[in-house]
């Protein structure tokens, strides 16, 4: 059985409360010991002086495109991108072809992810075919291993379907994950509605489109119960609504994508389709509201909405380009640069947003850095500066607006399922 000893790393584990420099000895996939100056016989030594070891990061919102769109990404390349980004787990959205709305597709995904160092957890569709018309077989999907339900990419707009999903879904204690957008207000929009869309003459998506659905959904959650999770929250109004719902004791959680706490719609000047995603980049006050939401707990998780598209698909007129950017390999750098260095979050809080909370929301096993626990870590250098180069990404796709940007904070590798992945 393979044996490793990780030397001199700063361990930060919000669950066990660990915040100290120690060595960790791992045998197979189990933590055999934590202590000072460990040098067990036969163990390979990895010196991590200056780096941090944290519980394995979990991205609760990715698009791995398999089955159906393997030219953009597949489960293997998506998992490689996750590992490169410091993640040991990713939850993949069901807008595949076929849609994840039956047990067979879930079994297929688990089969494709077998043996990888990154755990891949399927999120199943709320409605059959993600068409928003009839509820998917949620019991069958949950039994097969779905960790949540979402029609992501499209909203559940029909109020009766929304009510049924929250009520029926409450049996399984997994979240109903909403892509909050009013389809009437959306109407072909390509960017946020603001003075920038006015100047550029681009069809716009107003903040109202998100705010209206979130506000409505929270009324439903309050009335019927159930667990509601807001995907890719992006507006001042949505954050206020979630904050208020939490204060009333609703079972509501939310996530924010790194691009929504780091970029504004001013980036769209120049018509680069690598800044086109949905929800779109918003205004400066929204960006600050996302940071505040992460700080005060209104936002529980940082999730990338990793959405790969081939170059030829993105290299078109802005309005015709598909929505979405990849995010797995820049999430840690953006989180450290924008949140840790700007003092919005401490490192333990950042680990909560990137690991503890998303796992809790999806009902995944808790990770504890303690003797006898399963070894599931990410290695981070939170002081390293590096320049984003999309050509070096593990993802099959290159659609990132951060190419050339210098970030602080770099994932060094992961250890999970008995496998070590190091990037140095």
């Amino acid at each position: 059985m393979a044996s490793f000893v990780f030397k001199n790393a700063h361990i930060v584990d919000p669950v066990s409360g660990l915040d100290t420099v120690k060595d960790i000895h791992v045998t197979g996939d189990v933590i055999a010991g934590i202590g000072d100056n460990l040098s067990p016989a036969g163990a390979e030594e990895i010196d991590l002086r200056g780096a941090h070891i944290v519980p394995g990061l979990c991205d609760m919102h990715v698009h791995f495109r398999e089955p159906g769109f393997e030219h953009k990404e597949d489960i293997r390349s998506g998992a490689a991108a996750a590992a490169a980004g410091g993640f040991t787990a990713a939850a993949c959205m069901p807008n595949t072809d076929p849609v994840i709305d039956n047990a067979a597709v879930i079994a297929f995904i688990f089969d494709r992810a077998k043996g990888l160092p990154v755990d891949v957890y399927p999120i199943a569709a709320i409605t059959k075919g993600r068409k928003g018309e009839a509820i998917a077989p949620m019991a069958e999907l949950r039994e097969a291993g779905a960790v949540g339900f979402s029609d992501d990419g499209s909203p559940v707009h029909n109020t009766k379907i929304l009510r049924t999903a929250l009520e029926y879904g409450s049996m399984f204690d997994v979240p109903i994950i909403q892509h909050a957008e009013d389809p009437y207000l959306f109407s072909g929009g390509a960017m946020n509605e603001s003075i920038v869309s006015t100047e550029l003459g681009l069809p716009a998506i107003s903040r109202l489109s998100e705010d209206a659905i979130v506000t409505r959904d929270l009324m439903f959650t309050e009335y019927v119960g159930g667990r509601y999770h807001l995907a890719h929250m992006s507006t001042v109004g949505a954050a206020q609504a979630v904050r208020s719902a939490k204060s009333r004791g609703l079972r509501v959680t939310s996530e924010v994508a790194p691009h929504h706490f780091s970029l504004t719609d001013e980036e769209v000047r120049g018509y680069d389709s690598n800044v086109k995603m949905n929800p779109p980049l918003r205004r400066r006050d929204d960006v600050i509201a996302m940071k505040e939401a992460l700080k005060d707990g209104t936002a529980d998780a940082i999730a990338t909405d990793h959405a790969p598209h081939a170059g030829f698909e993105k290299e078109v007129e802005f309005v015709y380009a598909p929505f979405g950017i990849i995010g797995l390999e820049t999430a840690v750098g953006l989180s450290v640069t924008e949140l840790l260095l700007e003092n919005w979050l401490t490192l333990p809080q950042l680990v909560e947003k990137l690991s503890t909370n998303p796992r809790r929301i999806l009902g995944l096993p808790e990770i504890r850095i303690a003797e006898g626990s399963k070894a599931n870590f990410s290695f981070l250098d939170i002081t390293a500066q590096w320049t984003v180069d999309v050509q070096r990404f593990q993802s099959k796709s290159r659609n990132s607006p951060y190419h050339g940007r210098t970030l602080t904070g770099r994932p060094l590798g992961i250890f999970n399922n008995g496998q070590l992945v190091l990037h140095r």
């Binding site: 006015t198 100047e199 550029l200 003459g201 681009l202 018509y271 030829f312 078109v316 007129e317 309005v319």
Partner: protein, 308 residues
């Protein structure tokens, strides 16, 4: 003669006043050529211009084509009815294929805002935007400004109001940017449901009462109401639009003074403008069309002969 600071004409936003003045001044000499019995000069001899039109347009294409031929350029017309995406070939591939045939200037109309911007960053030809989505239509605004200047002698300090569907109008945007650069006072008027978000931040006055707008104006630019567009979603009906915003002789007579009336065409008689106004004494709609050819000659000349 001096030369333009810009390599392409993609829009009028952020185009220096000196460039706009240069185009307007050059236009005067081309207008003179248009009055000659032989309306052709050898200025662009040996240059190839492609008119790349992804949206239907008769008048703008003809205006450009006449301008190109009168400058002795070799002219190729490329008309694609629908978007590049639906055709199967990307816009970039189409442009690169045409460029591989060694062209110098591309005049493009496209339904997508920013299409010219997108191509100009990826190709080597000079680009002239003949309309991109709801973004800009710079030669239209230039010919509007040229026409106003002919009538009033200057743009500085003039009160100009653009009336109609501002949200979807590239003519409105280009006029706003150009007129503000040239020192005019710009207003817009229309139903608020047809205003783009935060419109005032462009630096314009906003009217919803057309009579107040007329009182403000020395010049009005009446936009075409797109008959196919969103009746019932953005405004109730053409009838109600005409009654509320239509420019009628009665409305103009109440002013007790003459104002100049522009319209980018094609006009919908009886909708946004009454026939008696379109054909009336203040109308400069036909001079606009003549000036359009001269403006495009000036732009083609200045872009086509600009040193790399």
């Amino acid at each position: 003669m001096s030369s333009l600071s810009i390599p392409h004409l993609l829009g009028l936003q952020n185009v220096p006043k000196e460039d706009i003045n240069l185009i307007l001044d050059s236009t005067d000499s081309f207008l003179e050529i248009l009055e000659r019995p032989i309306k052709k000069v050898p200025t662009l001899q040996g240059k190839t211009v492609v008119n790349l039109f992804f949206e239907n347009s008769t008048r703008t294409r003809i205006s450009f084509e006449l301008a190109e031929r009168r400058l002795s350029a070799d002219v190729v017309n490329f008309a694609a009815s629908s978007s590049s995406v639906k055709k199967g070939e990307t816009l970039l591939d189409t442009a690169r294929n045409i460029e591989a045939m060694k062209v110098d200037i591309v005049v493009m109309r496209h339904s997508a805002a920013g299409a010219g911007h997108f191509l100009s960053e990826r190709c080597t030809s000079r680009f002239i935007n003949a309309g991109d989505g709801a973004h800009e239509h710079p030669t239209q605004a230039l010919l509007d400004m040229c026409t106003i200047r002919q009538k009033h002698g200057t743009l500085e300090g003039l009160n100009v109001c653009i009336i109609g569907d501002i949200a979807h109008s590239r003519v409105a945007r280009s006029n706003i940017y150009g007129l503000l650069s040239m020192g005019a006072n710009v207003a817009v008027c229309g139903p608020p449901s047809m205003f783009p978000y935060d419109l005032e931040k462009l630096g314009v006055r906003v009217f919803t009462d057309v009579d107040q707008a007329l009182q403000f104006s020395d010049v009005i630019n009446v936009l075409r109401i797109q008959l196919e567009r969103d009746a019932g979603a953005d405004f109730p009906s053409l009838r109600e639009y005409h009654n509320t915003f239509g420019i009628t002789r009665r409305r103009l007579e109440k002013l007790g003074r003459d104002i100049t009336v522009l319209h980018p065409g094609p006009i919908n008689r009886g909708v946004e403008i009454e026939s008696e106004v379109a054909d009336g004494p203040g109308s400069v709609i036909l001079p606009q069309v003549t000036n359009g050819v001269a403006i495009r000659m000036a732009v083609l000349y200045l872009i086509g002969t600009r040193a790399e």
